[in-house]
């Protein structure tokens, strides 16, 4: 199968909406508003934290609340000078969403949160562990969740569904990291 036809190609996986059996995005958004726009999304790798953050950013924009996203990872650093200019230019009505705050050291993380809480309306961070901010939700995964995502990605495709035993096996081998599970399924379909 060609990469552009693979149902698990990255543009399709990135477009999948956040799924949780406990809360809808709307419920989580309402909770975030009730928490005075200060919260953290917690969870291990590949549990949908960034997906949820992106959807909350869209929801804020649709409510005309300016949302500013900071994305930090190994290849996209957030240097001290970038941090200074970001904090200097931030609008007081905006809500800042930080993806990858764990990449910053303790001191810079602490200083960023302190500055943002003084200078803007709200903060939502994505973290692998508990932070100083109250937890909005703890993202988890399960074989059932993976099954639902696979069904979504295979819908409208004339491809057979993978059996539950295989989904369970992939889920266990990747320790519940949904992103890695979907990456393996890309390879599975690439060989078809």
């Amino acid at each position: 199968m060609k990469p552009c036809d693979n149902p698990f190609r990255s543009c399709r996986v990135d477009a999948v909406e956040f799924v949780s059996f406990d809360h809808t995005v709307e419920q989580l958004y309402e909770n975030f508003c009730r928490m005075d726009y200060k919260a953290a999304i917690v969870g291990q790798h590949g549990r949908g934290k960034s997906t949820l953050l992106r959807q909350i950013a869209q929801r804020l924009n649709s409510d005309s609340v300016p949302a500013r996203l900071i994305f930090i990872n190994d290849t996209v650093p957030f240097t001290s000078s970038m941090q200074k200019s970001f904090i200097r230019d931030i609008h007081p009505d905006s809500v800042v969403l930080v993806d990858g705050i764990d990449q910053l050291g303790w001191f810079r993380r602490h200083r960023l949160l302190r500055c943002l809480s003084k200078k803007c309306r709200g903060i939502l961070v994505v973290s692998h562990g508990r932070s100083k901010l109250p937890t909005l939700t703890e993202c988890t995964s399960s074989p059932e969740l993976l099954t639902q995502l696979v069904k979504t990605l295979l819908s409208h495709q004339s491809l057979p569904m993978i059996d539950n035993a295989m989904i369970k096996d992939i889920f266990q081998r990747h320790n519940g990291n949904i992103r890695n599970c979907l990456s393996e399924l890309y390879d599975y379909y690439a060989d078809k």
């Binding site: 060609k2 990469p3 552009c4 693979n6 190609r9 990255s10 543009c11 990456s183 890309y186 390879d187 690439a190």
Partner: protein, 138 residues
């Protein structure tokens, strides 16, 4: 009436050599006079990992009628070629968008010296046998 937009290529040609010229016509039949129409020539990748996109050329059609047509001509660069491997596919496309409606039509073309998409195959590299003993040096 449903709005209709089309990209048509001269002689229905879809495969081009590097440096070749893409000639054609864009046609539209809308329910309201648009602000403008934009036509983009670009390549993009899809598959596993980050998607890349690069716009090579564009045309903007302003002060247009509700139903009309315009000719276009783009000279293609020398590369990259259209190809498909296990991890990514690189495709060349022309995309026409109606502003502000956001209606879009996209047509895929092929850019390669052979005129067809290049297929990358996995290559098997056998392990080289290690020579036993010492190499004689002068």
């Amino acid at each position: 009436m449903n709005p209709q937009i089309h990209i048509e290529f001269d002689n229905d040609q879809r495969a081009y050599q590097p440096g070749g010229v893409v000639d054609g016509t864009v046609r539209w039949q809308l329910d309201k006079t648009p602000e403008r129409l934009e036509l983009f020539l670009f390549w993009h990748t899809s598959g596993k990992g980050t998607n890349d996109v690069s716009v090579i050329d564009s045309r903007v059609y302003e002060n247009v009628l509700v139903s009309d047509e315009e000719r276009f001509s783009f000279t293609l660069p020398q590369g990259p070629y259209s190809f498909s491997g296990k991890l990514i596919t690189l495709q060349w496309s022309l995309e026409l968008t109606v502003i502000p409606k956001g209606i879009t039509v996209r047509k895929i073309i092929t850019l390669s010296p052979s005129g067809s998409e290049i297929t990358l195959k996995e290559t098997y590299f056998p392990k080289q046998k290690k020579s036993f003993g010492f190499k004689r040096t002068r």
